[in-house]
């Protein structure tokens, strides 16, 4: 809808939140462009929900300001902000019907004839026949849609979604992801979505901000974050990465590193830090970029590719692909995902293999950080 052009961007400047001595959010600057689908991604306790609540006005920032377009709203109470929230537990009013739940915002602003708008909104979320029911008589997915409708009917400048799909089962969650994306495209309102599910963030959002420990670790388009993680946390939290600690041999436009006698190359442009000869570097590659061949076919590998030898420790068949865990002197437990196009019968646990990949697909990270950062949380949310 183009009639919402007066909205403008959401701008957070130097915003932070302390609770006593605990800092939930470190001073942070963030701009959410108007009309975009923006995701705040992070594990629980990373400050993403606090950030969202500061935009909603439910939490007063300790420092910094919140702007909606040109208007400063930092100290406005929530009921005076053109912002609406879809809560994690939906927070539907249990004593009101679905119709009255959705009409709530309109009625509070003194709008008398709400029937038409509410019915349109019920249509949008496909709940027309449930208008007179009470929230507890609906399923989780239906309640979720009511929560979205109740917020959207007010045509907010920004819609805030606080883990809105967290309580749904996997299949329903996938369905609602597409549904929300469709609604966002249809109404053109800025969505700020908080989630701990990296897949959800990547599927839905135009821009993702990965948060960790009250700070934004990295911000960018999903593909950009996935291909060029700048920290180990992002590399591990978004998908899976094989990280190898290596020492830098030479650093030109191509960086040459070695780890346990194996030499690897990567473009200097793909390093998030400036590698120095003699220094350390964390070399990373995504499991699906790596190819796997039996050791006897090593000679058939094209020249110039990064190669690591190892032995298959485990393999699991998951239909579309097979996931291998390869033990190698360079790095224990390298992960490799192989598409099941032609399954090689020789690739079984115990087989000697060679891993190889395009050096362009390698990224380099500062070695002075925790290699394991962000790993557990991925397993937890999966």
């Amino acid at each position: 809808m183009t009639d919402k052009t007066e909205g403008g961007d959401v701008r957070l400047s130097g915003i932070s939140k302390h609770y006593g001595t605990f800092t939930a959010v470190h001073p942070l600057d963030l701009t959410v462009p108007q009309g975009s689908f923006f995701a705040l991604l992070g594990a629980s306790g990373c400050g993403k929900t606090t950030t969202l609540r500061m935009i909603a006005g439910l939490e007063e920032p300790s420092t910094g300001t919140v702007h909606l377009g040109d208007r400063e709203v930092t100290h406005l109470p929530p009921y005076k902000r053109p912002v609406n929230t879809v809560f994690q537990s939906y927070a539907l009013f249990p004593h009101l019907s679905i119709f009255e739940n959705i009409a709530f915002g309109l009625r509070r602003r003194g709008i008398k004839s709400v029937k038409k708008q509410v019915e349109e909104m019920l249509e949008l979320v496909q709940l027309g026949q449930f208008a007179q029911r009470k929230p507890h008589q609906l399923s989780g997915g239906q309640q979720q849609r009511v929560a979205v409708a109740r917020a959207l009917i007010n045509h907010p400048q920004v819609l805030l979604l606080d883990e809105p799909l967290g309580a749904l089962d996997l299949k329903l969650r996938r369905q609602m992801q597409l549904e929300l994306k469709r609604i966002q495209t249809e109404v053109g309102i800025t969505f700020v979505h908080v989630t701990h599910d990296q897949e959800e963030a990547m599927t839905m959002a135009d821009t993702v901000a990965v948060m960790n420990g009250g700070r934004v670790e990295q911000l960018g388009a999903p593909a950009e974050l996935y291909e060029n993680p700048r920290t180990t946390f992002v590399a591990n939290f978004l998908g899976t990465s094989n990280l190898i600690e290596a020492s830098v041999e030479s650093a030109g436009s191509d960086v040459v590193v070695s780890a346990s006698g194996t030499t690897l190359r990567l473009p200097a442009t793909r390093c998030s830090t400036t590698p120095r000869a003699g220094g350390k570097l964390l070399v990373g590659v995504r499991p699906e970029k790596v190819s796997l061949v039996p050791a006897e076919e090593e000679n058939a590998i094209a020249a110039g590719r990064n190669k690591i030898t190892g032995r298959i420790a485990a393999s699991s068949f998951i239909g579309v692909s097979t996931q291998f865990v390869v033990d190698s002197p360079v790095c224990a437990e390298l992960e490799v995902y192989v598409q099941n196009i032609e399954r090689d019968a020789r690739l079984v646990p115990g087989a000697e293999v060679v891993l190889h990949w395009n050096p362009e697909h390698t990224f380099g990270l500062d070695a002075a950080q925790d290699m394991e950062a962000g790993i557990e949380t991925v397993e937890e949310s999966a």
Partner: protein, 268 residues
């Protein structure tokens, strides 16, 4: 031998339930039956013959209806005051952190735990020392005091189970503090508040011990019943008792019917 035993085992819960019900209801039945008695002497303890005399003239006993009116009046005012104050206290205890919150939290239940006779005596000592004239107002103050803890207990349980996000959602949807309270907080807390109010009314209406100590020359209905029991029991006492019982049962039934109808009306 086996079949009766099996039958007993299967229906034990029902039998126990009916037995308990009978145990609780029997006194009410006696009161009701004797409200239709026509006693020969001053005491209404032996069945003589069926009569509607007492029902036709419930206020036929001197001073009884006056004391009944007073009791109802005191019950009404103390219910209103205790419910308003108790609700506010319950919200404060659950929602806010303030100094002495812990102390208030436990001391508020003191009137529930303390023997009534002790409270009655100490209240009397307090009123006498302060030089307050005993009567309607001292009774009212005492009743509000002991009703308060029951209201706090009932409302607190309800507020504790209430999702604070509901109020956040209301504020997020353009409801200011007053609107949020009236449209969301109050309706959701209403069952707890109603329970506290009903309890208050019942407790205040039939309180004897504390009232007896602090009433001066004022006579409430329970005091009237006690007083007349020394000299003879008019049948009208049974009439009032039966009427109160019937009204209470009707209120409960009406509440359940409204609830059932609401449940039935919802699914399409």
């Amino acid at each position: 031998m086996r079949t009766p035993l099996t039958w007993l085992r299967r229906n034990l819960v029902v039998i126990a339930g009916l037995g308990t019900l009978a145990y609780m209801i029997l006194p009410n039945v006696v009161v009701t039956v004797f409200s239709f008695n026509n006693p020969s002497g001053r005491f209404n303890y032996a069945w003589q013959e069926f009569s509607l005399d007492a029902w036709k003239d419930p206020c036929g006993v001197a001073d009884m209806c006056g004391s009944l009116g007073l009791s109802l009046q005191i019950a009404l005012w103390s219910t209103l005051a205790a419910t308003a104050l108790g609700t506010a206290i319950a919200f404060a205890l659950v929602r806010y952190r303030f100094r002495a919150r812990g102390a208030v939290n436990s001391l508020i239940f003191l009137p529930m735990a303390m023997p009534e006779i002790v409270m009655a005596a100490s209240l009397l000592a307090l009123f006498l020392n302060m030089g307050i004239q005993l009567g309607f107002w001292t009774i009212l103050i005492a009743h509000i005091m002991f009703c308060l803890s029951f209201v706090v207990a009932a409302v607190k349980a309800r507020v504790l189970s209430m999702d604070p996000r509901l109020e956040e959602a209301a504020r997020d949807l353009y409801a200011g503090p007053v609107q949020t309270f009236l449209r969301v907080t109050l309706p959701i807390a209403a069952p707890g508040i109603a329970a506290g109010a009903l309890l208050s009314f019942a407790l205040s209406f039939d309180d004897f011990i504390i009232t007896n100590f602090n009433s001066g020359n004022t006579v409430t209905f329970p005091m009237f019943v006690w007083g007349s029991a020394q000299r003879g029991t008019p049948v009208q006492i049974n009439v009032i008792g039966t009427a109160m019982f019937v009204i209470a049962v009707l209120v409960v039934l009406a509440g359940q019917m409204v609830g059932n109808r609401r449940k039935k009306a919802q699914p399409k």
